[in-house]
């Protein structure tokens, strides 16, 4: 089983601050995905990173895949209350996708 560890588990910040959350593993992944989940709903895909060293930007969100394809980070610039949610990373071989435990982000106005 390929394990994904996310840190921090909880993060509470003020609106306008920057933050970075991490997803680490001892295993190599062909790709990693980041999802965001709101209370009472299923996770929704934000991005997939495939190439080692890849950086993808989605408005104020920047995703990076480690060179060795074992880790990834999500950086949010100037966080807004609408960014509040559970951020999950996921990866795995073609059939059995595994998730990290997630980072629960709260952005206070």
């Amino acid at each position: 089983t390929q394990l994904l560890e996310q840190s921090p588990q909880f993060l509470s910040i003020q609106e306008g601050e920057n933050l970075t959350v991490y997803c680490n593993s001892s295993s190599v992944f062909s790709s990693l995905q980041w999802y965001r989940q709101e209370p009472g709903e299923g996770p929704v895909l934000l991005v997939t990173v495939v190439t080692g060293g890849e950086v993808k930007k989605l408005k104020r969100l920047t995703f990076q895949f480690g060179d060795a394809r074992k880790d990834s980070s999500l950086h949010i610039t100037a966080a807004q209350p609408g960014d509040t949610g559970l951020y999950l990373c996921a990866g795995g071989s073609w059939g059995d996708m595994r998730f990290g435990a997630g980072t629960r982000l709260t952005v206070k106005p």
Partner: protein, 112 residues
């Protein structure tokens, strides 16, 4: 718009009951998954299926079984529900060899 639909948003069942959770996807995806989500533990894979009538155990299959008789439908069965199976259950589907998964809205199951 792509869709994964779970049959119930909320369910309350009694200990010992046989429980069926249904999931249907309209994207012709080969892969389908069942996860349970508990605070602090994240999403844990119960079973997945990569084709009709095919199933593979995930990390926590004990107490569960699955059925995939048609490509679009993946059912999770709790043979004899227990209180420790109280949880949020999430169904997902994806194309084969692609990481992107589409999730249903979840079923919050309470076993009393």
């Amino acid at each position: 718009d792509v869709k994964v639909t779970q049959s119930s948003r909320y369910l309350v069942k009694r200990t010992g009951e046989k429980v069926f959770l249904e999931c249907v996807q309209d994207m012709d995806h080969e892969n389908m998954f069942w996860y349970r989500q508990d605070p602090g533990l994240g999403l844990r894979l119960i079973y997945f299926s990569y084709d009709v009538k095919m199933k593979e155990k995930g990390d926590i299959p004990e107490g569960y079984s699955v059925s995939r008789e048609k490509k679009e439908r993946f059912s999770l069965i709790l043979e004899s529900a227990s209180t420790n199976q109280t949880s949020m259950y999430l169904c997902a589907s994806s194309q084969i060899r692609q990481g992107r998964a589409f999730f249903g809205q979840g079923t919050r199951l309470t076993v009393v």
